[in-house]
Structures are given as structure tokens and as C-alpha cells.
């Protein structure tokens, strides 16, 4: 029994399952928020899996997701700016909750690994993840108001 894998399974079933429900139903403004949250939750899952399987090189996946996940949300925010302009999605509670999960996982992993360059890599991934998702949330809530057909 591996606690890291258990935590990953819980976040996967509860968190990503809920975002899957959110992206499958409801108005567009809810779906884009759910898409953002799914990448914000999958990144800590990948970190937990890397620790659970004891494979430090799997951290690269989490790093790439922390970089590209927010970019994907920015793509939606930018190209759907017209549709979202009337009633911009604001989901700061869910965003900060997902950021809290990410921060908690990163700090737990930092505590579990020996201090060194691997710790810095973990902290960097966490910073990119949280910063990216907060910026993406902000972009969804009206960061592209000045964009017209461009």
C-alpha cells in the first residue's frame, strides 16, 4: 500500500471526475472553468505518481503540463472571448482550491525528497502551475476584452 498512489487515486477520482462532469454539462462558461481546473488537478496527480512509483524522471510530465495546461486555457479564453464576454466566468473559489491542492502536494513532496536540485525543480513546477492557472483564470474572467477578431 502506497500512500502517494492512494492520494493520486483520490484526487483523480474526486477532482478530475468532478471536472469531467463540469466540462460535459452546463453552459460554456462553466465548461471552460472545468477545463482549466482539470489541468490544475492533473499536474499534482502526475507529481504524486512520480513519487509513488519512485521515478524522478516522471516529474518532466508534470513540468510540461504545468507549462502547457494554462496555455491551453488561454487558447480557449482568447478564441472564445466573444462568447464569454457577456457573462464572464468567475470561479475564484475553485481556482484557489485547486491551487491549494497543487501547493499542498508540492510541499509534501519537497518534505519527502532529500533537499537538492530535485527540490528546486519541484518548487519550480509548483510555481509555474499555480501562477499559470491563476493567470488563466483571470484571462477567462475578462483578460481578452480588447481582442476583436485578431
Amino acid at each position: 500500500m502506497n500512500g502517494w498512489l492512494l492520494a493520486a487515486a483520490v484526487v483523480l477520482a474526486g477532482g478530475v471526475g468532478a471536472t469531467l462532469w463540469g466540462v460535459a454539462t452546463g453552459p460554456l462558461r462553466r465548461r471552460v472553468v472545468a477545463q482549466n481546473l482539470s489541468s490544475a488537478l492533473a499536474c499534482p496527480i502526475l507529481l504524486l505518481l512520480s513519487q509513488g512509483y519512485d521515478r524522478p524522471s516522471y516529474v518532466d510530465l508534470a513540468l510540461v503540463l504545468a507549462l502547457l495546461g494554462p496555455v491551453g486555457t488561454l487558447v480557449f479564453a482568447r478564441l472564445l472571448a466573444d462568447e464569454l464576454a457577456g457573462d464572464p466566468p468567475r470561479a475564484w473559489g475553485a481556482t484557489w482550491a485547486a491551487a491549494g491542492v497543487g501547493a499542498g502536494v508540492v510541499l509534501a513532496l519537497c518534505a519527502a525528497t532529500a533537499p537538492g536540485r530535485a527540490t528546486v525543480k519541484l518548487l519550480l513546477t509548483g510555481a509555474l502551475l499555480i501562477g499559470g492557472n491563476v493567470v488563466a483564470s483571470r484571462a477567462l474572467a475578462g483578460g481578452f476584452r480588447g481582442v476583436r477578431r485578431g
Binding site: 510530465l61 502547457l68 483578460g143
Partner: protein, 246 residues
């Protein structure tokens, strides 16, 4: 063909496929078993050539010829897109309107672009050591450039993306792969045989013989191909308009 007949045909073909799949599943080895005849041989071969990532060894050493085929598919697909999405005679270009993006989003873009580019190049360079390789890293690097469109302005992207350079880079890196393969023939072995370079020390950047070179060629090819592909899509979506000839 009438809809009724079509439905019958689909049902017959579907049930035949289902029967074959069920028959195949009944004969499969157990899930997660410990007998992997192909896997054991692939790992042995990759360790003999001191390549830490067995997948990279399969892709760029044991099955390097298959990767050449995959690269040609991507190359041909991008070529087809370039031909299909060109500007035709009854279309004209409209200047895209400038976009004003919120300052935090713009700052995030300018900060993350170099980091993502460096990560993409890191994934390419460490393809033989850690998960990843030319394809993955190339896509990450190409995506990082398009952050400029997403997080800033289409014209900003156009300023840093001279499309001709990427088209030439695409062709050059595709031929670099073939040339590396031909070098094996010239050295007296076989096409794409990994016998040219010393295998190096296990788990270092120079290990694996020609695997890192082929990885770099594929990485550059994929990055250039994705940039060219997205340039055509952006052209069509942002700039090219039909002339209203009514």
C-alpha cells in the same frame, strides 16, 4: 444503397469485428503478467547500446526505419496542408486588428515563452535518458512560440516567425535524418544502423551512439512542421477573407 441495407451491412460487419475481438481477448496473456518476450529483448538491446530510455532505443535505433516513415507522414501531411490552405485567387488578405491583452496575461506570456522553449529543447536533448524525445520536445518548443499569438498579438507572432526559415528548417532536418542513415551505409554497415559513433557512458548526454543525433533531427523537424502548419491555420483564420463577389 438504401439506409436499411446500410444498417444491415454495419450490423453484420460490427458483429464480425466484435466476434474477432472477443476471440482475440480470450487468447491474451494475463494483464500485467511477468512474461514479456519482446520487452526483455528490447531492454537487453537498448542496454547493450547504453541507451537509458528503452523507448528511445526502440524508436531511433532498433526501429529507426519506422520513425523515418512516421517523419515522412508528418512531412507529407504538412505539405498537403500548405497546398490546401494557400491563398486562392478569389481571396484577399485583411490586416488583423491589434489586440489589447490584460497586462498580467501579457507578462505571463513573455515570462513563460522562453521557459517553455528551454523545456522543449531539454526534452529533445534528453530523449535517450528520460521520458520524451524529438517529437514531444518539438511540439512543446513550437507551442511556446505561439504563446505570442495567444497571449499578445498576431502581429507580434509574425515578427518573430519568418515562415520561410521554418520551411527550410523542416526540409533540412528531414534530410539530416536520411543523411545520418546513409552515413551508416557509407561506413559499411546498413541504413540507419547504430554502429557509427561510440556508445559513450550510460546515462550521460552523449550515450546511445546516433540516437541523440536522430532525436535532434526529429525534434527540429517536428518543431518546424508544427510552426508551418499553425501558420497556415492562422493565416486562414485571421487574415485571409473571401472577396464578396455577388
Amino acid at each position: 444503397m438504401s439506409p436499411r441495407l446500410r444498417l444491415w451491412l454495419v450490423c453484420a460487419a460490427g458483429s464480425g469485428l466484435a466476434a474477432l475481438l472477443v476471440a482475440a481477448c480470450l487468447d491474451l496473456p494475463g494483464f500485467g503478467g511477468d512474461r514479456h518476450p519482446y520487452g526483455d529483448r528490447a531492454v537487453d538491446a537498448s542496454l547493450a547500446r547504453r541507451t537509458a530510455n528503452t523507448v528511445a532505443s526502440v524508436n531511433f535505433d532498433q526501429r529507426a526505419f519506422d520513425t523515418l516513415g512516421e517523419m515522412s507522414i508528418l512531412f507529407a501531411a504538412v505539405l498537403g496542408c500548405v497546398v490546401l490552405l494557400r491563398q486562392t485567387r478569389d481571396e484577399h488578405r485583411a490586416r488583423p486588428e491589434p489586440a489589447h491583452v490584460d497586462r498580467p496575461v501579457r507578462r505571463y506570456t513573455l515570462l513563460v515563452l522562453p521557459v517553455a522553449l528551454l523545456t522543449g529543447l531539454y526534452v529533445i536533448a534528453h530523449g535517450q535518458l528520460s521520458p520524451g524525445g524529438g517529437f514531444q520536445g518539438g511540439v512543446v518548443a513550437a507551442t511556446s512560440l505561439h504563446l505570442l499569438y495567444v497571449g499578445a498579438d498576431y502581429r507580434a507572432l509574425e515578427r518573430v516567425r519568418p515562415i520561410g526559415v521554418y520551411e527550410v528548417g523542416d526540409a533540412l532536418s528531414a534530410s539530416a535524418y536520411v543523411v545520418t542513415g546513409c552515413a551508416g551505409v557509407l561506413a559499411g554497415t546498413a541504413f540507419l544502423a547504430n554502429t557509427l559513433l561510440p556508445y559513450g557512458t550510460f546515462n550521460t548526454l552523449s550515450s546511445g551512439g546516433t540516437v541523440p543525433l536522430l532525436n535532434a533531427a526529429i525534434g527540429m523537424e517536428v518543431a518546424c512542421a508544427v510552426v508551418v502548419l499553425l501558420a497556415r491555420f492562422l493565416d486562414q483564420a485571421v487574415e485571409i477573407e473571401e472577396v464578396r463577389s455577388l
